[in-house]
């Protein structure tokens, strides 16, 4: 396990920060708030050219063959800037999912197109109840003449208008155990029968949509991981997504702390910088503390996934829960300490505040992950440390 960034990671971090500062300026962010699609195809192309879309994918398919920890470094920078792009969706639910669970044909077909930016993937998983659990997946998929016909409505779908393809979780069989009978499909977004509706969601830099699917035919060759095998795969890929999101959150938290601390040094009230008041100092100290422990857990989780550590799901749940809580705490303090200006639309703090909400909610909120941990403790009582054995697929 590495606790200090290596030279390559430092380079990646600097490169990412410089690139984002140049290509994703405030005017771009502000323009994206009102953009229905939510990303810039020009910027996407540049991101593809940097090789970031295939950062962790094998070189055989045109990827850069770097590690999950490297990806976390990159995502931190994106989270710090709130870079509006379908990056996590595509990298995790396109590249990493297909690379880990796809057939050789699927890898050959899709990975190069994902890496060069041609294919943009969005995960369409949640439905009416908004929770990530097998009982919540009720979209029907009926087998018919060598293909499946999908009908149902997916909600809370991010990057839906940017996507060329959806990864859809649908029910191929009704069973007593809701975990059985779920299948993952790669669905072409241009199909007739797919209708996308904006939902008016809070995080305007990661907007959410309704994706209505009516009798859309999907060939068997677009099934990922096999019929009725979807849930365990989904659980594991959601773990990876939660880890990526944790990295993004840590980057965002860093922006919130830096920005808030800078403000308390500049802002004068009662003739002195407000940062000289203990009431402000102590809140900043608590923010720094929250960031420190969020980062520690996030780095542990990223290293655990990189090393294919059996404890990885545990580490990710801890990181996701702690980062989700901390990001919300920090943006709450960030708005408060900024005072009136922090409550305006014009200041960027609310964008982070809203991102904190959308990030905590996605792929299981803090409560959900604490429950996952509790289940683990239930199963593995009697050890001498917190750690135990989970099961984690190679990523």
């Amino acid at each position: 396990m590495e606790w200090v960034l290596n030279e390559e990671q430092e380079m990646l971090k600097t490169m990412a920060r410089d690139f984002i500062a140049k290509e994703c300026q405030r005017a771009h962010i502000r323009a994206m708030l009102d953009d229905e699609v939510g990303y810039s195809p020009v910027l996407w192309k540049k991101i593809a050219e940097l090789g970031w879309l295939g950062l962790t994918l094998p070189e055989t398919y045109g990827g850069a063959g770097m590690s999950f920890r490297d990806l976390a470094v990159l995502c931190e920078e994106m989270g710090r800037a709130l870079l509006p792009a379908p990056f996590i969706s595509t990298v995790v639910f396109g590249g990493m999912l297909i690379n880990a669970y796809g057939t050789e044909e699927q890898k050959k077909e899709w990975l190069p197109k994902i890496i060069n930016g041609e294919v943009i993937v969005s995960p369409a998983l949640l439905e009416e109840d908004g929770d990530l659990w097998p009982g919540g997946i009720n979209m029907r998929a009926i087998a018919r003449d060598g293909e499946f016909s999908l009908t149902g409505t997916k909600l809370f779908v991010t990057d839906a208008r940017a996507a060329t393809h959806f990864v859809v979780a649908a029910r191929t069989e009704k069973t007593d155990n809701p975990e059985d009978g779920i299948t993952l499909f790669l669905v072409d977004a241009k199909e007739w029968g797919i209708f996308i509706k904006s939902l008016g969601s809070m995080d305007l830099l990661r907007k959410q949509y309704e994706v209505e699917v009516t009798r859309v035919a999907v060939p068997v060759s677009n099934i990922i991981g096999g019929v009725n095998k979807g849930w365990p795969i989904l659980k594991q890929i959601a773990t990876v997504a939660a880890a990526v999101l944790s990295a993004e959150m840590v980057g965002g938290m860093e922006w919130v702390l830096d920005t808030t601390v800078a403000y308390t040094k500049d802002r004068i009230a009662f003739g002195v910088p407000i940062g000289s008041f203990q009431a402000i100092k102590h809140q900043c100290a608590d923010m720094k503390t929250a960031l420190e422990y969020s980062r520690s857990l996030m780095e542990w989780a990223a290293e655990a996934i990189k090393d294919n550590d059996p404890d990885a799901p545990l580490a990710v749940s801890m990181a996701k829960a702690y980062c989700g809580d901390s990001y919300r705490f920090m943006t709450n303090r960030g708005v408060q300490i900024h005072g009136g200006i922090g409550f305006t639309w014009d200041h960027d703090m609310h964008l982070y505040f809203k991102r904190a909400r959308s990030s905590d909610t996605a792929f299981g909120d803090a409560n959900y992950h604490r429950e996952l941990l509790a289940k683990h403790f239930d199963k593995h009582m009697g050890g001498s440390t917190v750690r135990g054995r989970g099961a984690m697929m190679m990523m």
Partner: protein, 404 residues
């Protein structure tokens, strides 16, 4: 860590085996009753333990060999610390010499002081107490009122100290006293080492809210201290004290991330204790573990324990890469661990409900009142070694650079 190198895995096993063989018989079981704080038995048990650890090469790190220092790779030290935290050890309260006196003497002391005192601190031969806080100088430590007046080659000390850890049986003490009545704050104090056996020194235990007396009051009535016992320069004692307070906080926070609570429980291993407690406690007809409110909070403690652990490991790696000693960031870990200890304490009390009122000795006490004791004792954690408020100021001013 799943991929801990084989060498370290072997070392961890070695430490575990050593602990099994050397901890007092019955340690960690209900049969073993640790003597009450501030009793002679407890003191002797602690000193015996330090000596054992030193003889095994498990303590005494970070000091030159000539002063009795022991060399060992940082990773192995971390393993020793973790393993000791896991079992708990009888040594907790007796580490003041190790936490405070030895680092201070090493950094600011004279050559004779280093040679005379450090080896016997490391080996557990001599124990130390702390003479900093006074009734009117706690967080505002610079307000020390105890005076020392020069008389020939000696200083005559008068005044009172309070909250002096381990004062009852200590052989020596460190002392912060006012040596200049006119000079401005921070430039009027000097730092001394004193022998507890001299005339004019008196001490008595101070009972704390948990019912025990880990700390004491010390009284100086014309106590004489040789001039050569001064550490650092005359009237610069404040700076000597400040440079080493961080070491104590580091000891209370990051280093001892799983600080033993009265030598019984550790924070890290405490998660499993809590799960077990919740599973064994019935509330309104079902176990507390079945109540998601309790379950969630216990898991939050589990998360925070691991966060602390990885933050500790991460900081060690980072400081090593930068070749720097621990700095102000110990204020972060000190606060976090202290506050977490309190959260954990409160949670355990919430879980056992009405039984949280039953103290040790009560026929209704759960686990011999350990939970209640730990919870009460934890209240001191955010006050001792720099209050949470003082540490928050340090984080804000010295790490984040906010104006003073």
């Amino acid at each position: 860590m799943a991929e801990e190198p084989m060498k370290l895995v072997a070392f961890r096993k070695e430490v575990r085996a050593w602990l099994r063989a050397n901890l007092p018989r019955g340690w960690g079981t209900p049969e073993f009753k640790i003597p009450e704080s501030m009793t002679l038995e407890r003191h002797q048990l602690g000193m015996w333990w330090v000596k054992k650890c030193y003889d095994a090469g498990y303590t005494g790190f970070g000091y030159p060999k000539e002063y009795g220092g022991v060399e060992r790779p940082v990773e192995e030290r971390a393993i020793i610390r973790e393993e000791m935290a896991r079992t708990g050890t009888p040594g907790g309260p007796y580490s003041l010499g190790l936490l405070l006196a030895a680092p201070t003497i090493l950094r600011a002391g004279q050559e004779w002081q280093k040679k005379r005192f450090i080896p016997r601190i490391l080996s557990g031969e001599e124990s130390w107490c702390e003479g900093f806080s006074e009734p009117n100088a706690g967080s505002d430590l610079a307000n020390v009122q105890t005076t020392a007046v020069k008389d020939g080659d000696e200083w005559v000390v008068n005044g009172q100290k309070v909250w002096s850890s381990n004062s009852r049986y200590a052989d020596f003490g460190v002392l912060l006293v006012k040596t200049d009545l006119q000079a401005p704050r921070h430039r009027n104090l000097s730092y001394f080492l004193f022998d507890c056996k001299v005339k004019g020194f008196d001490r008595r235990p101070l009972r704390q809210m948990s019912g025990e007396s880990e700390f004491g009051e010390m009284f100086f009535d014309n106590m004489r201290v040789p001039d050569k016992n001064m550490v650092g320069e005359l009237n610069r004692g404040w700076y000597v004290a400040m440079t080493t307070l961080g070491a104590e906080r580091g000891g209370g926070g990051a280093a001892a991330a799983a600080a033993t609570e009265g030598g019984r429980r550790t924070v890290g291993a405490g998660t499993l204790d809590l799960v077990e407690l919740a599973k064994n406690t019935k509330r309104y007809g079902k176990t507390a573990w079945e109540d998601s409110h309790f379950r969630q909070q216990i898991m939050q403690i589990a998360i925070e324990s691991e966060a602390m652990r990885y933050s500790g490991v991460r900081n060690i790696a980072r400081l090593r890469a930068l070749r720097q000693p621990p700095g102000n960031e110990v204020s972060i870990s000190k606060n976090f661990s202290a506050e977490m200890r309190q959260r954990r304490g409160e949670l355990s009390m919430d879980i056992i409900g009405a039984y949280s009122q039953m103290m040790r000795g009560s026929p209704l006490a759960i686990d011999d009142g350990d939970w209640v004791y730990a919870s009460l004792r934890a209240k001191g954690a955010t006050i001792e070694m720099g209050t949470s408020e003082v540490n928050r100021n340090i984080i804000a001013e010295r790490i984040l650079g906010l104006p003073r």
